[in-house]
């Protein structure tokens, strides 16, 4: 027996939903935690049903993520692009700008940085890296401003335009790596030549953790300051709460659309730059396995909070890294995707509890 939802008709419902005036803070913290545990519970049942020992599987997952210095460092490595892209989309979402284009902005950032690295291979590091940095954020920002302009001017739906530009960016990078930028020694495989030493971000000794981590942490701090300590951030938040009120207050929405998208794209572009300069050391086909899309989920799970985005990025990175480790205990890759899906399902499903209150029995006053 299941209770009907929505304040409803006849036979007294088992429980009813009531909208909260303020989203519950307690629930906002507790729900995701419980959701993850519930998801693991469901996953455990599934694993057990398919003949695996769930405890062992989770153990090997956890071990892969935090069980060794190497695993831990790799989790950090994987979290870096997620953090930057997640921070990027979150600032747009806060203004109710649906930037679905972080994937494309990531690719263009990677493209911009690679352009510098491949065109001027002899620059010294102290010029090369800043130049790549600037090129990365410029290209990412540009790619986000392209859909922002028609949005600001004519109200063109940015969901469609940012999404479509992803494909353009990916194909543009493919064109480069299959065509003009292909490594002459690469036997036609879609890779550029490796970057020169000067174009490689410094790493923590013995790991692949690169300077991008600092970029991401600084970006989170910067966003926090912008959003809660500056007039611009105040405007962004007001527009996000109520565009009409913002317009009354004399806030220039059009200008903010462009500026916020620029910032949003720049951060995703920086993610692309730090991935090529920090990890792959060359541009290649499929440089992002969907970081830009995962970033959207991360931003929402983190309720668009910069500090929380950093944390949630680690969680997701752990899921991805641990997902591979689990395979060594014989679990197929598809099961891992299923687990990841279950976690999202519960967390997003639990969202409702932060915005609605559940009443058991009859609703009072009716």
């Amino acid at each position: 027996m299941v209770g009907s939802s929505l304040p409803g008709p006849a036979p007294a419902p088992l429980f009813t939903w009531e909208k909260r005036l303020e989203p519950s803070r307690v629930m906002a913290v507790i729900v995701p935690v419980i959701a993850v545990i519930l998801a693991l519970g469901v996953g455990a049942i599934f694993l057990a049903a398919t003949g695996f020992n769930p405890l062992k599987v989770y153990q090997s997952m956890l071990y892969g993520v935090i069980g060794s210095k190497y695993g831990l460092s790799e989790t950090v490595v994987k979290a870096i692009p997620l953090m930057l892209a997640g921070l990027g989309v979150s600032v747009a979402f806060r203004m109710l700008l649906w930037n679905i284009g972080a994937e494309g902005q990531f690719y263009m950032g990677a493209f911009g940085a690679s352009f510098v690295a491949l065109t001027f291979p002899n620059l010294p590091a102290y010029i090369m890296l800043p130049a790549m940095f600037v090129a990365g954020i410029a290209m990412g920002g540009l790619w986000a401003v392209l859909p922002a302009l028609p949005k600001a001017r004519w109200g063109v739906n940015e969901v469609i335009t940012t999404l479509m530009l992803n494909y353009v960016a990916i194909l543009w990078v493919d064109y480069q790596v299959y065509g003009p930028w292909k490594d002459p020694k690469g036997f036609n495989f879609p890779l550029t030549a490796p970057f020169s030493k000067a174009a490689i971000l410094p790493t923590i000794a013995g790991t692949r953790i690169h300077l991008g981590l600092i970029f991401a942490l600084l970006a989170a701090i910067m966003l926090t300051i912008i959003l809660w300590r500056t007039r611009w951030g105040y405007e962004i938040r007001v527009i996000g709460e109520s565009p009409r009120a913002a317009r009354y207050a004399g806030i220039k929405i059009e200008r903010n659309i462009i500026l916020v998208m620029l910032l949003s794209g720049a951060l995703a572009g920086l993610a692309g730059m730090s991935e090529v300069a920090g990890i792959t050391h060359r541009l290649q086909h499929g440089i992002s396995p969907g970081y830009g899309y995962t970033a959207i989920i991360i931003a929402w799970l983190a309720k668009l909070h910069p500090a929380t985005i950093i944390l949630v990025s680690f969680l997701f990175s752990g899921l991805i890294v641990g997902g591979y480790s689990v395979q060594t205990s014989g679990v197929p890759a598809a099961t891992v995707s299923m687990l990841q899906g279950a976690i999202l399902f519960f967390v997003l499903g639990g969202e409702i509890l932060t915005r609605y209150r559940l009443h058991f029995g009859r609703k009072e006053g009716k």
Binding site: S24, V26, M27, I30, I34, I37, L38, G41, V42, A44, I45, L47, A48, A49, G51, F52, N53, P54, L55, K56, G64, S68, Y70, G71, E74, V77, D174, Y178, G179, K182, F187, N188, F189, P190, R208, E275, I279, T280, Q284, H285, G286, I287, P289, V321, Y324, S325, Q327, T328, G330, P332, A333, A334, L353, R357, L358, H359, F360
Partner: protein, 380 residues
């Protein structure tokens, strides 16, 4: 607020039930299956076994490339009882993730690691430097080190034969070829297929579509449909799944599979498939490493060695065609016929390999031009 807490309490209770349930069912596999119950003892025994691991670019259920390698892994486990070949990692992208996965496998005490896709090459070399005691074998690449060998096979031989089948069976004289990446391995296959087809039917043209992916069932199928739209009536493929075969079946046309016998996936379309048979190589190599006789090499097996072969014909292929193909197969095995033997012209009609000459092995491995009869472009 009190209501809120009550609800949390309920949730917590539900959670405890769930965990308890999970815990109980978690015991089950350990409880009732012997192999699960023994982990403590079993694991120790396992540790003494010689550990071998595989990394795959697709899922083991792709029915093609990865599946064929995984058959090889199972064959290895069956033939050599002292080997623990239970570890494999599937769907590992050819990028930054590969380095972590390789490192993890080396860390876990694997003595031999087979990396079964071209794009793992640089990561294999990088990780191998850090683990000099682990032997890495990289499929289809060209970089070796003291503890890194490469292995591959002369797929051009069965490809040539499958081209003969296609050339005999086509009516439109247009063959379609769904191709993954424009790298020498794939180009070599297209050329062999085309040479085979034109050896029995000089009017044949081979149209090529690149998908830029090894594994993407939907994209592979789409590409095949485009070729069928363009008039092709036999679809060949250098892809990891039977998607292109299924496209041919939908349109009532023929298909030539790849990697494994693909008849079951498109019984009305599939004529035959050039196939891989990795098992014996895996056994031989692991034995050599164990005995200390292994040395880094570029292994390139042939049809004679059995690592490649032409799979069974479907009943659509008439006896005369089978006879013709089988005769050529014997010539190849006997060393009387070489696929890339002059005269071979390129797409512009220029003679690239003069009559009476053979292409060198190096040139074959680095193939970057199409032979006459191929309609398509290699991105430059």
């Amino acid at each position: 607020m009190r209501k809120g807490w009550r609800f949390i309490l309920v949730l917590l209770l539900a959670l405890m039930v769930a965990v308890a349930a999970a815990g109980c069912s978690g015991q089950k596999p350990a409880g009732n299956s012997q192999s699960g119950e023994k982990p403590a003892a079993g694991e120790q025994a396992k540790d003494e076994k010689f550990k071998v691991a595989f990394i795959y670019v697709g899922p083991v259920g792709d029915a093609g490339w990865t599946w064929a390698h995984d058959q090889g892994r199972k064959y290895l486990a069956e033939k050599l009882p002292w080997v623990d070949a239970n570890t494999y990692m599937e769907s590992v992208p050819e990028g930054a993730d590969a380095e972590r996965v390789l490192t993890e496998l080396a860390e876990k005490g694997n003595k031999v690691i087979f990396a079964t896709s071209f794009g793992y090459m640089d990561y294999v070399i990088k990780v191998a430097e850090k683990y000099p005691d682990v032997v890495f074998l990289h499929c289809s690449g060209y970089k070796t080190a003291k503890n890194v060998g490469t292995y591959f096979g002369a797929m051009e031989e069965p490809r040539y034969l499958s081209g003969m089948v296609a050339g005999k069976m086509t009516q439109s004289n247009i063959l379609g070829y769904v191709a993954a990446h424009p790298i020498p391995e794939v180009i070599r296959g297209i050329n062999a297929f085309t040479l085979g087809a034109r050896s029995v039917n000089p009017n044949v043209k081979v149209k090529v579509v690149w998908t830029n992916t090894w594994y993407d069932p939907a994209a592979e199928k789409q590409a095949a449909l485009r070729l069928l739209d363009a008039g092709a009536d036999v679809i060949a493929q250098h892809q990891d799944t039977p998607g292109p075969q299924q496209a041919a079946q939908e349109r009532g046309k023929y298909g030539i599979g790849y990697n494994s016998d693909m008849r079951q996936f498109a019984p009305n379309a599939n004529l035959t498939s050039p196939i891989w048979n990795w098992g014996p190589y895996y056994v031989k190599t692991v034995e050599a490493v164990k005995n200390g006789t292994w040395k880094s090499e570029d292994y390139y097996g042939t049809m004679k060695d059995g690592i490649v072969d032409l799979g069974p014909f479907s009943d659509k292929v008439p006896q005369e065609v089978r006879d013709l193909v089988n005769q050529k197969k014997q010539e190849i095995i006997d060393g009387k016929f070489y696929v890339f033997q002059g005269p071979i012209k390129d797409q512009s009609g220029k003679v690239r390999v003069p009559e009476g000459q053979k292409m060198s092995h190096e040139d074959v491995l680095g193939f970057n031009w199409f032979v006459e009869g191929v309609e398509g472009e290699i991105p430059k």
